[in-house]
Symmetry: C2
Subunit: 358 residues, 2 copies
């Protein structure tokens, strides 16, 4: 084997009780400097390592949080996850990952302590297959933070950007460029598509405020927000009698897919069709052309989510559910305004333009 040194062994060696060793190891309570040194010496000599499993059982917590996302290979989630892991680690928490593929049944497992009771102390959850009402049927003893476009029912925190406003700004950017046949790719006009619908609302709002009509045939719904969805939707749009001169895509991946179709058809972006995305993933900064997008403050979202969750975990009494709005901004790149002065692709951090919102 190899392991085997226990708290008791250390206690024996140091000539103290296991209680004292525990105090020293955990930095609890006041231990006299002399005792501490003696215990530390025994710990070092024996190469003692606390057994996390035993500690967890005794303490009744696992020191782990779960992060549940629909797809791990979606850059947006991957980037978010990275921030979550960093933030959690700083607080001494480990991160368990699960991917649901947007399956509603799978997602529901995380609304209760279910069979994995106590495996994690709380969950950061980005639901896809669940509707708002599904979220309300849950075991409220499990600390929960929801990411994305949902509304807190008071029993959990919700962190996300203001999608309606952001979508409105994206659409206004297109209209402001003089485009008059603006399409939208990504609507989901059904129960679980509440997130997408917020973006559609912003899209309509922008038209309303500009006194312009929405061309209903240009609002395309897609099952997901992938490159392939974007590519197919764009193909459909181009086959219309009157194709659009601009497209608001509900994710950068959709935008990338749409741009791919445009390139295949020999159309120029943005001259023939301007394209705007959503999420500000790295792909969009290096694509050709680079993608104008709505950039959520992912770092803040990740850090806030962890902070709120740990706050919930640490609190004995129920914490009221908070609605937290993270900032976002419109980042203007080539897919809407074309190549500007300067040749080299600038470093992403410098390449970002435009106004702060949120």
């Amino acid at each position: 084997m190899g392991r085997g040194v226990t708290l008791r062994d250390v206690a024996a060696r140091a000539g103290v009780s296991s209680r004292t060793v525990s105090n020293v190891v955990n930095g609890y309570a006041r231990v006299s400097e002399e005792t501490r040194a003696r215990v530390q010496k025994a710990v070092d000599e024996l190469g003692y390592r606390p057994n996390v499993l035993a500690r967890n059982l005794a303490a009744g917590r696992s020191g782990q949080i779960a992060v549940v996302v629909p797809y791990l290979d979606t850059p947006y989630f991957a980037e978010l996850l990275q921030g979550v892991i960093r933030a959690a680690r700083v607080q001494g928490y480990n991160v368990l990952i699960d991917q649901t593929d947007g399956d509603a049944e799978h997602e529901k497992l995380f609304l209760t302590r279910g069979s994995t009771s106590l495996l994690f102390d709380g969950v950061i959850f980005s639901p896809l297959g669940l509707s708002q009402s599904d979220l309300s049927v849950r075991d409220t003893s499990l600390p929960l933070v929801i990411l994305g476009e949902r509304v807190s029912d008071g029993t959990f925190d919700h962190v996300g950007i203001d999608d309606v406003t952001a979508s409105m700004e994206a659409t206004e950017h297109l209209l402001g460029l003089g485009r008059r046949r603006v399409a939208a790719i990504g609507d989901q006009p059904y129960r679980t598509g509440e997130a997408a619908q917020l973006r559609t609302r912003g899209f309509r709002l922008a038209h309303e405020r500009a006194g312009l009509p929405v061309h209903e045939e240009l609002v395309i719904s897609t099952p997901r927000f992938n490159r392939s969805d974007g590519a197919e939707a764009m193909a459909h749009l181009l086959d219309l009698e009157q194709p659009p001169d601009a497209v608001f895509c509900y994710s950068d991946l959709v935008a990338l897919g749409a741009m791919r179709t445009l390139a295949s058809r020999g159309l120029r972006v943005p001259e023939d069709v301007a394209v705007i995305g959503y999420d500000d993933i790295e792909d969009g900064r290096y694509s050709n052309p680079s993608v104008t997008t709505i950039s959520p403050d992912k770092r803040m979202i990740a850090e806030t989510a962890v902070e709120r969750l740990l706050n919930r975990i640490g609190s004995a009494t129920p914490v009221p559910g908070l609605e937290i709005r993270a900032p976002h901004r419109l980042v203007v790149r080539e897919s809407t305004v074309g190549r500007q002065a300067g040749h080299e692709p600038r470093r992403p951090s410098e390449a970002d333009g435009a106004g702060l919102t949120g």
Copy 2:
């Protein structure tokens, strides 16, 4: 609270011993149908849920494996991770994720059971900051599977593709197109760059076999395999007196970055410069132009890694370290041969061409 139903409670209710309840819950041993039904009834009535923490402590295993990668937001790792999580879940294992940022000290933590002893039963590890020799100084009682370009020292399994051969094939593809000034972006001529050096070896080998000279000034080293690395290296190459007419990039991200620079300079891909990548990430399938690449069988890599690790975990006696070669293939796309017949971007699964290797 809410929780609190224990095995003992169920036993009392069903009028049996906790041992029997345990047997029923875990499906162990033979339990008479009658007893089983009675116990099951008590379980249901009481809403009993096993406490994973207690189970882990008693069983001496955690039911978790750790996956350690340098960067989570690198599409290649994200795609791989997805496969690992799926495979692990099927076997009843949860997946803990950690990201090291390629930091050697951080990575070394995973070579021993360290402070997180027993938190995970084994590790799937993709090291970046560690050299081959670092891997040999480890606690061999921790089951380990290494991904990427390393060689097993006999105490762990290694799963990866044949990088030298793959790189040779990539280079040969470029040479076969008639290109004679082929550059390589991604070499890392130092201790921890062993992985990159394998690709450089393949690059040289292809030239050798074709009886052509390697243009040394066209072999560019980069600190990482990112878009920005590719963009910068390409800019450097284009500033040479005699720029290359083709580039072998050590990752698709590097290729994407390089293509971005080429577009900025008004150069055409592949007419002016042909570009080939490595990894076959989804980005490359939808980029403009799409990226020719070396495609490792990621699914097989993920599944094999999990299978080997669980095999190690389950084995009482030391398992000899295996070297496992996953297949790869060259996927020819627009960045080397230009746009072919057909306009629509075909679905990725159909878009892949070329020969099977490995």
